[in-house]
Every structure is written in C-alpha cells, then in structure tokens.
C-alpha cells in the first residue's frame, strides 16, 4: 500500500512542547529515516525553551516498520551498519535530555507490513535462513521498539495489534534490542509472552500489560498528549543534563549494549 507524505520530518513548537511529525508516508525505517529523526531531535534541543518532545506520524502511520525493499538491496556490511545506527538512534531517544512522548497515531497493521530481512542476517543463528528472509510478514517490531524508547506512550484504539512477531518468522531478536524490551516492559511474564510466544495485543490489551501507558480514540490523540504533559510534568521542566544522566543511569546496561551493538 503506497501512501505519500510531504517527504520530511517536520519540527514544530507549541510553547514549550516540540512536536516531531514524521511525514514520509508509511515512515518506513531506513537510513534516511534514522538521519532525519536524529536531525529533528537535535533541532528540538537547539530551542532552549523546549521542555518536552512528542513524536507522531502524519495521517495514518506512526511508522510501518523497517523498509524491506531498501534493506533487500544492501550488502552484509551496509546492513550491519544500518542496524548499528538503528540501535544508536534507540539509545539517543532512550536517554534524551527532554521528556519524550510517543503519540502512536495508528496501530501497526498486521496484514500490510513487510518483513525485516536484516534480523535474519545474524551468523549466531545457523538456523536463520537469509534466503527466506524476504517474504510477506510483519515488520512493525522496528517501530514498536522506537515507541518503547520513549518516556510515555499513548496509542489510539482504532484498529490493529501490537506484536513482536520474530518468533513466528524464525528470526532472532538481537541481544541489545531484547535488553530494551526487558527494560521497558513491566513484567517478566509480559516480556516472555511478547518475545517467546510472539503474542499480539490490541490497544486495550497493550495497556493492561503495560506495553503502552495510555490509550484514546484517534481524534483525541494530541489533546491527550498535552493533557498528560500538563498534568504530570513539573512546570519548570527538568534540567536537561541531569535528566539525561538520570536516564543513562537507570538504563545503563541497555544503553551500553545499544551503543556497542554487540
């Protein structure tokens, strides 16, 4: 399904809240996505008045996962390089010196997204078969992890499921990404069901299991974001450096693994 966007990541400011809107149609994750996301985050930081950053998608998609077509063209070295940059982007969001909110404007559509080829290219798993890596499937795991790296996640309830479907596709989840999941999901059993059983969750179920923190109707998404910000964060915000240090301390092992990309 082809969806056209304006082609960029837009950064807007509403008083002390910065909003990064991903406007690249399905916002599939490739090297350009990573570069634009990181540039947008840096632009937000340049504004000293900003206390919170919200990420969201334009129109129907937050992100529809990894860009399969693009990844299929890459050689092994480029793929590993991409994965490294992806992990580093996750680390950047996870330890961002501002409060981060993911306003997930659409659920990942289980029947439309395509598969992650690169996760299969991991020599530690002799059973993984790069030959069958490119097939119909689900790639939204890549987008799910981006949202998980945020401080607060609001998901709209319209349709679709949340799911890390690697186990159904005989794919390995890399060690550093498993670390992020364990860090952010609230219970060992939830982590187990998400990873080992590849269970799928509606927005309501995701809320109940602590995968997302708030749910709302699609039309209420941004109002709910602002409501949360106004009701939960100190008016004066946080000292940026100290917030970053606090996040780095709390998520130390995960951050080290993401940055080292072992």
């Amino acid at each position: 399904m082809q969806v056209k966007g304006d082609g960029d990541f837009k950064v807007t400011f509403e008083n002390d809240v910065a909003i990064i809107t991903m406007c690249k149609g399905e916002n599939k994750i490739n090297i350009e996505f990573i570069e634009q996301m990181c540039a947008a985050l840096d632009k937000v930081l340049e504004n000293p008045a900003v206390k919170t950053v919200v990420t969201t998608g334009q129109g129907r998609f937050y992100s529809n996962g990894f860009d399969l077509k693009w990844i299929a063209e890459l050689g092994l070295e480029s793929t590993l390089n991409f994965m490294r940059k992806y992990s580093q982007m996750l680390a950047k969001i996870l330890t961002f010196p501002l409060t981060t909110v993911a306003a997930v404007n659409v659920s990942w559509d289980i029947y439309e997204a395509k598969l992650v080829a690169l996760l299969a290219i991991d020599i530690k798993h002799p059973r993984s078969n790069p030959g069958r890596a490119i097939s119909e499937g689900h790639a939204y795991a890549g987008a799910a992890l981006i949202s998980l790296a945020h401080d607060h996640i609001i998901m709209q309830t319209d349709r679709g499921w949340w799911c890390m479907n690697e186990v159904h596709l005989n794919l390995k989840i890399p060690y550093d990404l498993l670390g992020l999941l364990k860090e952010k999901l609230s219970s060992g059993q939830t982590v187990h069901e998400v990873v080992v059983l590849g269970k799928r969750y509606t927005a309501k179920e995701a809320l109940r299991c602590g995968i997302v923190h708030e749910i709302c109707a699609p039309t209420d998404l941004m109002p709910t974001v602002f409501s949360w910000i106004n009701n939960n964060l100190p008016k004066a915000g946080y000292d940026r450096e100290h917030l970053q240090t606090m996040k780095e301390d709390l998520y130390k092992d995960t951050v080290v693994a993401l940055k080292a990309k072992l």
């Binding site: 060992g188 080992v196 059983l197 269970k199």
Partner: protein, 233 residues
C-alpha cells in the same frame, strides 16, 4: 499409601503432551530428575506434539527437594544434586515446546520454581499453596536460582515476599502477585490448560529449534549461569 515406583506418566492428547508426576509428594532427588529428563525425551520424540502440560496428582504438584535425603549428603554430593537441579530448570526454561504448568496442589520450594518457569501457569483454587520455603528450611538460594527468580517475578515486592519472607500464596494471591497467570476450580484445571493452548498458540505451533533459540536468547544470562557457565554462588 504405598509409594509407587512410577515417577512420571506421559500421555498424548492429539498434539498436546501431558506429563503427570505420579508420586505422593513428587519430591526431587537424583532418580526424579533422571526420569524427568527421560519423560521430556519421550515427549520430544513425538513429532506431532506442539505443547506440553505438566501436572501432579492428589494433594501435591511438587513438594520440592527431598530435604530428608539431602540433609544426609556430604557437601560435594549436595552440590552435584543442585547442579543437576539447575540443569532441569535450564531445560524447562528453554524447552522447544510451549509449556503449561497445571498446579493441582502444593508447589513448594524447587517445585514452586519448577512451575514458575513454564510459559503459562494455571493454579486451581481449592487445594494447596505456592511457596518458596527455602528460607524456612535454612537452605541457601544459589545465585543462579536468584537470577532466575528476578527474571520471572516482578522486581521489588514479589521478590521480597517470595524469597526473603518465604510467604505462602493461595491461588488468588499468587495470581495477584504475578506468580501464576490463571486460576480456576480443580475440575477445570486440565480443560483450562488445553483451552489456553488452543486460544493462544498458533495452530501450526512454533518451529521447535527456533522456539528454543528464542528462549535461550531471552534468558541468556540466567541459562548460562544455571548450566554452570558462570559461577553459581
């Protein structure tokens, strides 16, 4: 009641294997563990099996290590026994089939841990407690087991109550604490286990090798420690 010589009963219900622990308290010793491995091997040899249920008989799911016996063992042999027990835990944690523990009665000590590490745990509400009674028996928990418990129980309160205080939990309390995932009346126990399998697992099951790899990846540090690849104490 005479103690049966049969430790385990293995049966198949279409694509579901059921291992029933048959002795009175199902206490764990070397023989128990040996025969348990054999029962697991039997299950895996059947290519049609897509899920495994373990359960006990009568008043006990499993009452843990046979301390009357282990208290007579010299240190080296005791250590060996616990190494073997850790291997059993590691095998169940990384079993290449989805596992359901159907707790029909008391699950104490190692028996309680054993249940905890299944993929899904159902406990019936009329009979028995779940309890880690090591602290009451003055048994030291080894580091590998503590790592396992931290991985499986929510940090903080649950860990405190189960390990440090050796609190016993009814089915309802175990459900609240996240130790078990489902509770039901005793007569519903096995039907519920089967229903969970039918409703939550993909019809064609999982690739066995890959399911095992996924479990090994997720619990890498715990499994390595259980298998003695890093220090146990």
């Amino acid at each position: 009641m005479t103690e049966t010589d049969v430790y385990f009963d293995v049966e198949f219900d279409h694509d579901i294997a059921i291992i029933t622990m048959c002795r009175r308290e199902n206490k764990i010793n070397e023989q128990f563990m040996e025969k348990f491995h054999a029962a697991l091997d039997t299950v895996l040899r059947n290519p049609a099996v897509k899920a495994l249920i373990t359960t006990g008989t009568g008043r006990f799911y499993n009452n843990g290590v046979d301390v009357d016996y282990t208290n007579t063992l010299p240190d080296q042999e005791l250590n060996n026994l616990h190494d073997k027990l850790s291997s059993v835990f590691a095998r169940i944690m990384t079993f290449p089939l989805p596992t359901v523990a159907a707790i029909n009665g008391h699950a104490y000590g190692a028996g309680g841990i054993f249940a905890l590490i299944h993929d899904h745990v159902i406990m019936q509400t009329k009979r028995g407690w779940w309890c880690l009674n090591e602290v009451h028996l003055k048994i030291q928990m080894r580091r590998d087991v503590i790592m396992l418990l931290k991985g499986k129980l929510n940090q903080g309160r649950a860990l405190q109550e189960t390990v440090v205080l050796g609190r016993r939990f009814t089915a309802e309390e175990a459900l609240s604490a996240g130790i078990v995932h489902e509770i039901c009346a005793p007569e519903d126990l096995m039907p519920r286990a089967v229903t969970w399998i039918r409703n939550n697992l993909p019809k064609s099951g999982y690739d066995r090798g890959h399911l095992q790899l996924m479990k090994q990846d997720l619990y890498k540090d715990v499994v390595n420690t259980l298998q003695g690849k890093t220090a146990k104490l």
